[in-house]
């Protein structure tokens, strides 16, 4: 399709504006984390590393970061196992209700986080608490896994659909035992989809706040929750900026790698 020069300029402008709406505020957060002025006056009155230093030494922020990393890793691990198992089941076998299973696995990503949160909260209260399992890291991991499974499932299922047809049969035909076929043919085909799905799952978990609010007990604080609860305290605000800037960096990296790895990464809500 050929566009006129004007049309191209207009479309380019729209694109730039759209990206600016998303990224200028993020950039501002980053800049403000170095702004010497406590009330973020603009232009910045001076440069300071004080907020970063304070953030670094904040025990609350450190604990929250640790909790977030733990929750993210655990939820990703659960998602990798369950998501890829589900993807293989749906790809390999033609069973009754296959479409329904596919749909049910993917649905949680579309459900509003608050609905998932309330539902899980009620379920944990009635099922887990009588068993002596209180709200804490474990419940956060379960809550995050509900939507992390989806990105792994989507990535792996998409890759399996594109798996060169007949290669697994060809492998068996050439004398490979089932584990060898998996190792030499199936796994290499889905490996990058697994990595991409895992990174996206981690990124999703790392910045999740709604479901976390309902599934974390009073003693468990993830980084987003720590930020949220410190936002309203005026003398913490600059520190929050520094932590938020860190959060941006930590989120950008996995998404960037994931996108390089899979052109068709079904990201869901990112």
């Amino acid at each position: 399709m050929r566009l006129s020069r004007t049309a191209r300029a207009v479309l380019g402008g729209c694109m730039a504006l759209g990206l600016a709406v998303v990224y200028v505020p993020l950039l501002l957060v980053l800049l403000n984390s170095f702004n010497a002025d406590r009330s973020f006056a603009w232009p910045p009155s001076g440069f300071t590393g004080e907020w970063w230093r304070r953030a670094w030494h904040s025990a609350g922020a450190r604990d929250a970061l640790l909790t977030s990393v733990q929750a993210g890793l655990a939820a990703t691990a659960v998602a990798l196992v369950l998501g890829s198992l589900a993807a293989f089941a749906v790809h390999r076998h033609r069973f009754f209700g296959r479409q329904t299973v596919s749909f049910l696995v993917v649905l949680p990503i579309a459900l509003p986080g608050i609905v998932t949160g309330i539902a899980l909260n009620a379920a944990f209260r009635t099922v887990l608490e009588p068993l002596g399992i209180g709200f804490g890291l474990f419940t956060v991991v379960v809550g995050h896994a509900t939507f992390c499974v989806v990105v792994v499932f989507n990535n792996v299922a998409a890759r399996l659909r594109r798996l060169a047809p007949g290669t697994e049969e060809a492998s068996a035909d050439l004398g490979a035992r089932p584990p060898q076929t998996f190792r030499y043919v199936t796994l290499p085909a889905v490996r990058s989809a697994l990595v991409a799905g895992g990174l996206l799952a981690f990124a999703l978990s790392f910045d999740e706040i709604v479901v976390t609010t309902f599934t974390a007990g009073p003693g468990t604080q993830t980084l987003p929750i720590w930020i949220y609860s410190n936002l309203s305290r005026p003398n913490q605000a600059p520190v929050v900026n520094a932590v938020a800037a860190l959060l941006i960096a930590v989120s950008v990296l996995p998404v960037y790698i994931a996108q390089r790895l899979s052109s068709d990464a079904a990201g869901g809500r990112l």
Binding site: A164, P165, G166, T167, A172, D173, L174, A176, Y184, P188
Partner: protein, 370 residues
Amino acid sequence: MAQADPAAVAGTLTMGAPALRLTAVCKEFGGTTAVDGVDLEVRDGEFFSLLGPSGSGKTTLLRLVAGFEHPTAGRVELAGHDVTGRPPHRRDVHTVFQDYALFPQMTVEQNVAYALTVRGVRKAERLARAHEALETVRLAGYGGRRPAQLSGGQRQRVALARALVDRPALLLLDEPLGALDLKLRQEMQTELKQLQRLTGISFLLVTHDQEEALTLSDRIAVLQGGRIEQIGTPAEVYERPATAFVAGFVGDTNLLTGQDAVRVVGRPGTYSLRPERVRLVAADAAGAAGAAYTQAAPDLPGPGERAVRGRIADIVYAGPHARVRVDLDGGGRITAALRGDDPVPGGPGTPVLALWRDESAYPVPDLTQD
């Protein structure tokens, strides 16, 4: 008429046992019968083809031999061993797939060496044998490429090298030339035949292309509706079709039954008359009007020949020959294939005599009418 001497290539296999024996093999898929009581033997070193239209069960039969499907009833034996229940990786059989099914993430060399890799053959030997196999298919020097970097014909040859690298007892080929254009297909046919002679490995080819089957095979099994219609050498299948279906599917034919047979051939029954066996002569319209067919002209037909009057309906020029359809005066129509040096007696509407030697009308034992 088989061109390969089974004894000459028996080698290490169980003496006397055929490379493949199917006994009363049936396969049903949820109520539909894909293969219905097939018995056949592929001899050692033989090039055997399963020929049939789509849906005739030939691919299912191949998959039963490879082990991707298991028969509902019957027995599959390879070199005298019952392998009916064995999974694919425990059968000494390799397949060349229709779409080649090369491993996209591996190099050509890794693809070819795959059968050796999974058997734990040492790397040096693996590479040497992969190289050798690539040389056999004239792809030496292509080992480092990826399948995506090859043309269709080259991928085809990689698939062949991959399947032949560890010399299976039987090679299965599932419409291997279907995706290639005509010129390349003819080249590959020649190569396939040479490769089969060179290696002495039994080939079982699935094809719907009757010309391919006739050109390549030592023997052909013609399939329809999951059943074998006829097994024989190409000449047997072509010259002496066992059923009307075989006569019609393998090559073109004038199939004459019932009243047509009596009128045209002169006897009741079912007859196959190959178009290339029919010649046409311009009839002397004035002199022959109203005369009995066989008295149309004094010197025609010659001894042992049969003649029928008619008019040319249409002429289709097809390069090496022309196909002339003749509407017979008494009703019915037959087709004559005339070679370039065999002049067509005139345009549409020209009165002609169609002539053929009596024995060219081959009586078909029509079993499908049971």
